[in-house]
Amino acid sequence: MTRPLLQVENLRVHFPVGGGLFSAPRMLKAVDDVSFKLAPGETLGVVGESGCGKSSLGRAVLQLIPPTAGRVLWLGEDLCRLDEDAMNVKRSELQLVFQDPLASLNPRMSVGAILREPLYSFEPGIARSEAEDRAASMMRRVGLRPEMMNRYPNEFSGGQCQRISIARAMISRPRLVICDEPVSALDVSIQAQIIALLRELQAEYEVSYIFISHDLSVVRHLCHRIMVLYLGKLMEIGPKRDIFDTPRHPYTQSLLSAVPIPDPRQARQREQKLIEGDLPSPLNPPSGCVFRTRCPHATPLCIKAAPVLEATGSEAHQVACHYWQDLSGDKQTKTPTGE
């Protein structure tokens, strides 16, 4: 890997929940000891069910919520140690695109003003005419007519609003854009347009993406590497091909098995390895391996000890499961090792 653009080390985001006069608040561990690297021009997919901490992770990287512990190294510099002013300067390089395109645009600002605003804040002293030109060319770049710049967000469709959000994120020429479910609220035919746009922009600007999504089909199409989270913990991380072709963690395997496939014959033939039950409360996560309550292969060891992330065949593909070696391939034994 070339020098990482972003290196996240042992990141934790814990929220105090409840608590009153006589009781201490409980800790919700939204992100618990997550580490990863991101190379320039790379797309890292972050997948997992709701409540797995994927959005908190994105926001903590951007320092929009303060990490409880750990380091977020941006080109070697720890963002957690920057004061607010210094961080605001950095924000031109780290941007965010949200899920709900209309809600994330200020309804009282024209689209032109929305696009010019980042320029005024990141390049103070920029001439109005230059800001206007750049906004217009960005409009064109994301597939909208610059004449529409005087209109307001509510005059645009969902797909167009998402184009505007992307234009706003891209206009300051960031090196990292965190996309939090950017296509989930869009119609199927529009999703493909936005995915294509994100890919074109990446090729053109060499921007890196952290692509947070619950939709594994979209993630497969767009990402180079994938990270699987469960209850705030990193379960598995690796190159796309490894995650989809040889998933090692039972959770990853069941996630992939649950995705509907738009192909009737294959849908009929496939054997799904579905997990039972629902996500445990994140306020009271299971001991040991957090996935053990839903894991078909769990043993007493899984109750006692939390597995650590270890490399599988390749250094890039890592998994946190005591039994990944036994579960690989076709044999589904659960012989306990060690202990």
Binding site: A196, R220, A258, P262, D278
Partner: protein, 339 residues
């Protein structure tokens, strides 16, 4: 009888006579009175639904897929008007009295909505709400109703049904609430169950559980299922037949395999080509250009023509009618039409 795929499929294997449909919908249209005029949301929908059959309704926002079935259930907004004919076991149910509808709904026709939190009364225990359905519709005593509810909760795999019986909706997770909704809809063993995007708000693992539940229903009971969704993946694994809707009209109606492997309408082909897949690397996605149409400003010809890569002059002037492309397969498109 009109020539729909259902009527063809429904021929009795021995006598060759036609089995009567549970639900017969003919030329159903829905319009809404809006301040600036009348908006046509659904136009001339016809289909038959048979026992044990699963019909998928696929479309983007504004396609009329939900309004069609809200009209059938008599649940349109107050400014909505339905015309045409909908027969349940031969009895006309469109625009009948509220009282008659109340008797039909729940007992013969049931619906499961996307949003499970608004579908349940927040201040009543789950058990009470469900038992009420039986005491009111079926005149069961309390003990008998309770036993039946517990049986149904176990059928939809609610763990610890006895304990859950006494809990309130907010104490359930989203997936479990959705299962409670399914249980509620099934209590009176309806002849037709309409599911309107029942898994859209759920995580994939839970979605897979709910879809498995629906699949089991179709196999084990005689309930006919209508699955309204935007996700072709959901349809592929569950339905026997699919109706694709666009701008308030059916554009294609076919058995599920034919729709996926020999789609006849450019819109269906477009939808299939723009979906990324989790089970294999997809080639470049071909997005459908443009956006779903504005129902207030529909073009005079084919509503899909502005986005259709194969549109020609006739498409812009003349609306194609739904015609038989091959036995059991209907499409509304001028392409490949016999002179």
């Amino acid at each position: 009888m009109i020539d729909t795929p259902t009527t063809r499929r429904a021929k009795h294997p021995e006598t060759g006579g036609e089995r009567p449909a549970v639900l017969e919908c003919r030329d159903l249209s829905v319009h809404f009175d809006a301040p600036d005029g009348r908006i046509s949301a659904v136009n001339g929908i016809s289909f038959d639904l048979h026992r044990g059959q699963c019909l998928g309704i696929v479309g983007e926002s504004g396609s009329g897929k939900s309004q069609t079935f809200l009209a059938i259930l008599g649940l349109l907004a107050s400014n909505g008007h339905a015309s045409g004919s909908v027969k349940l076991h031969g009895e006309e149910i469109l625009n009948v009295s509220r009282r008659r509808l109340d008797a039909i709904r729940g007992e013969k026709l049931a619906i499961v909505f996307q949003d499970s939190i608004t579908g349940l009364t927040p201040h009543k225990r789950i058990g009470e709400q469900l038992a009420e359905v039986l005491t009111q519709h079926r005149g069961l005593g309390r003990a008998a109703a309770r036993a039946k509810v517990l049986e149904m909760l176990e059928l939809v795999r609610i763990p610890e049904a006895e304990k859950r019986f006494r809990m309130y909706p907010h104490e359930f997770s989203g997936g479990m609430r959705q299962r409670v909704m399914v249980a509620q809809a099934l209590l009176c063993q309806p002849d037709v169950l309409i599911a309107d995007e029942p898994t859209t708000a759920l995580d994939v693992t839970v979605q897979a559980q709910i879809l498995k539940l629906f699949k089991g229903l179709a196999d084990h009971t005689n309930t006919a299922l209508v699955m309204i969704t935007h996700d072709l993946g959901v349809v592929a694994g569950l339905c026997d037949e699919v109706m694709v809707m666009y701008a308030g009209r059916v554009v294609e109606h076919a058995p599920v395999d034919e729709l996926f492997y020999q789609p006849r309408h450019p819109y269906t082909r477009g939808l299939l080509a723009c979906m990324p897949r989790a089970d294999r690397d997809s080639e470049e996605l071909t997005a459908i250009p443009g956006q779903p149409p504005d129902l207030e400003a529909l073009p005079p010809g084919c509503a899909f023509a502005p986005r259709c890569p194969q549109a020609f002059a006739r498409c812009e002037q003349e609306r194609p009618s739904l015609q038989t492309a091959r036995p059991g397969h209907l499409k509304a498109c001028h392409l490949e039409e016999l002179p």
